[in-house]
Symmetry: C2
Subunit: 107 residues, 2 copies
Amino acid sequence: VMGWTSDLESAMQMLIKTFHKYSGKEGDKYTLNRGELKELLLEELGTYLGNSKDNEAVEKVMNDLDANNDGEVDFTEFIILMGALTVACNDFFLEFKTDDKPKGQSS
Amino acid sequence: VMGWTSDLESAMQMLIKTFHKYSGKEGDKYTLNRGELKELLLEELGTYLGNSKDNEAVEKVMNDLDANNDGEVDFTEFIILMGALTVACNDFFLEFKTDDKPKGQSS
């Protein structure tokens, strides 16, 4: 449905597609319940969350995300998580490049 | 530097890579000045911003984004824009699926 899409536009579409891949499984098609959120975190963000299988981490993320306390995470709450993770990832990325000399910077 | 990356993780990496592709061009390597922001908007978000060449649209985005008024857009301010655009895009996407019957939904 989109014209030619740039990297940035395909990144946005991936965020949307991934959310719906999990939110559509049970109950409200457009929100993530605890089970759907846990599956998303483990399958899609395993590398970042260190594959922590324990429920505590998921509980914590759920509570942090579930701003309106309805036990569900909607798309906006999900995007806030992704924004925070991306900023954290960028900070981590910058630590490798403290000085300005490009260190074999990937294209 | 990342292990196997999921769609979601590669979307996050794309957001980071695209920001640095433009922020690194002039002046402060880690912020977008007006020129860099304009180039990013036109080249990477043309489809969404309707290729509006006029400076007004870029000015407006710049002012909205430049929360701390230093004439530069840092990564966090950029992510806020991307979050807002992605939510708007998701709303637009949902309008096509008002009823729950999948309409030849792409995989």
